[in-house]
Amino acid sequence: MIPVIVGVTILVFTILYFMPGDPVRLMLGAEPTPAQVAAKRQELGLNDSYLVRLGRYVEGIVLHFDFGKSWIYNTPVTSELLQRFPRTLTIAAICMFLQICVGTPLGIIAAVNRNGLGDRLSMFIAMFGISMPNFWLALMLILFFSVKLHWLPPYGLGGLKYYILPCVANAFPGIATQARQTRSSMLEVIRSDYITTARAKGMSESRILLRHALPNALLPVITIIGNGIGMMLGGTVVIEMIFAIPGIGWYLVGGIGNRDVNVVQGCVIFLAIAFTLIMLLVDLAYAFIDPRVKAQFAGQKRRKQRA
């Protein structure tokens, strides 16, 4: 975990180190005196070498969880991030929930009714789902549900109502991916020998599906969920901007507009850490669910004990 965080921090810091332009001139506004510029540079530690600055930044994050200060507003980035994170997390979590709870059943239904009407229809919709940019879908949803029908608020923060459109827009590609993956993985499993065996011994079709096919089909799908979280977290950037939700994504877009390196850096690293943590949980869940992986670990342990 820690090596990944350090690695990501170094990577992002290094990429943004090459950012052109002088932040000090941006901060001090029009016509600063050379002395002012020099003093500010000294104050921010911009005169130090790359390694010193990198070391300081990594140390701040790993030891103190401190992302520095915004160069433009001079506010601590960490507190902004922590204050905004719940909103981003809410969106991402709802989207994940939708992806799993809508996408998986759709995929199963499609696989079971292979080449039937339901299959074709849901795969057709899923194809659109993975081909639609989420920001455009968001605008279309606003156009339809807010501007035309006046059902839902077009942007802002408030009750749960305000989360409906952003979450649907952000989750739609994920739902589509999930349905497609579940379907293809289900189809692969349905053809395997143990399903034929189960049929041969006269098991009911629904029992075969739920007890034999589904658990095996869902294993590869779990890895997709991890990727989906990355997509959801990344997708919030543009979704929050459109719906004016003050989460981390919007903060990031603002930071980009202001060329505020510390803010951009903080947002990207923070989201990457969140992503890594969730991926770790997914991996653990995978090991917990898949008896083969579990057996592998148990085997290792036993071997170690014997040695």
């Binding site: 990944v4 690695g7 990501v8 990577l11 992002v12 990429i15 943004l16 090459f18 950012m19 052109p20 194809m127 659109f128 993975i130 081909s131 639609m132 940019p133 989420n134 920001f135 455009w136 605008l139 279309m140 606003i142 156009l143 501007v147 293809s184 189809l187 692969e188 053809r191 990355g230 997509m231 977290l233 990344g234 997708g235 950037v237 543009v238 901007m241 459109i242 990031l252 877009v253 980009i256 507009g257 951009v264 990207v268 989201l271 990457a272 992503f275 890594t276 991926m279």
Partner: protein, 295 residues
């Protein structure tokens, strides 16, 4: 791919057909792949012949006819400066398609090279390359692209570069997995035994034999990259206005969505159409290359 040539009157001759022909035949039987291919080809033609198709120059302002709804003169309406939306979309296809294809080409080339090296050499090389890819992948793709794009600044070439960096890990991983599959094949041993140089073995023997999975994922990646490019210019990075990029057209129309929805709707439809066509083709390609999935 062995194919008994029944057409030649059942002669016992077993004809070895080129894989390309076999795959192309299977593709042509898949109707959605054909539709995807035709639509994508039409869009490419539209991009190539943009000056002939677009009824107006894409930058021509007509301040007497701003924000006009779609009509016979302007089938997709006009924008806030009186520019014809349809003409801008036609010209914009050049950006989206060239960014999509080139970025994926760069990403695939670099990713395959690294992936093949990781798979072929194994051990330390493998470790170093794969840990680097892990690192790149621990940042959600879009965020990585945004970060690189912030540093490189706007512009076609820089956007291309930023987007290709985001695609490297995936093609690298896939190539590595495929290479590990062929690593102990006899033809590689044969190549080593006739003293072929390592770069030659990797480029001439390893990569061509582990190309299929990468080809499929690259086709699917083009659509993704086009969407990401549009998103970049939507949030103000990437290709900048007044260039008629689809994403930046949507961004420009966003504030006018209540009064002139056509400025947002049509560029988005074209993004969707392009990506949809490429994905349909990619799906078909996957089925054609891996026939055991489709039965």
């Amino acid at each position: 791919m062995l194919n008994v040539a029944t057409a030649e009157g059942g002669t016992p001759k077993v004809k070895r057909q080129s894989e390309f022909v076999v795959v192309a035949r299977r593709l042509s039987q898949n109707s959605s792949a054909v539709v995807g291919f035709v639509v994508a080809a039409l869009l490419v033609l539209m991009a190539i012949f943009a000056p002939l198709i677009a009824p107006y120059p894409y930058a021509k302002q007509d301040l007497a006819h701003t924000r006009e709804a779609p009509s016979a003169q302007h089938i997709f309406g006009t924008d806030e400066l009186g520019r014809d939306v349809f003409s801008r979309i036609v010209w914009g296809s050049r950006f989206s398609l060239s960014i999509g294809f080139l970025a994926v080409l760069i990403a695939t080339a670099i990713g395959m090279l690294f992936g093949a090296m990781a798979g072929y050499f194994g051990r330390v090389v493998d470790d170093i390359i794969m840990r680097l890819m892990d690192l790149l992948q621990s940042i959600p793709g879009i965020l990585l692209v945004i970060t690189v794009s912030v540093v490189l600044g706007p512009g076609l070439f820089n956007t291309l570069l930023a987007l290709s960096i985001g695609g490297i890990p995936m093609s690298c991983r896939l190539t590595r997995a495929a290479v590990l599959g062929v690593r102990h094949e006899e033809y590689l041993e044969a190549a080593v035994s006739i003293n072929a140089s390592t770069p030659r073995i990797i480029l001439r023997h390893v990569i061509p034999n582990s190309f299929a999975p990468v080809l499929v994922s690259s086709t699917m990646m083009i659509g993704n990259v086009i969407m990401m490019a549009a998103m970049l210019s939507f949030i103000g990075l990437g290709v900048q206005p007044p260039a008629p990029e689809w994403g930046s057209m949507i961004a420009a129309g966003r504030s006018l969505i209540r009064t002139c929805p056509w400025m947002v709707t049509f560029p988005g439809i074209f993004i969707m159409l392009t990506v949809l066509a490429l994905n349909m083709f990619g799906d078909g390609l996957r089925d054609a290359l891996d026939p055991k999935l489709k039965k």
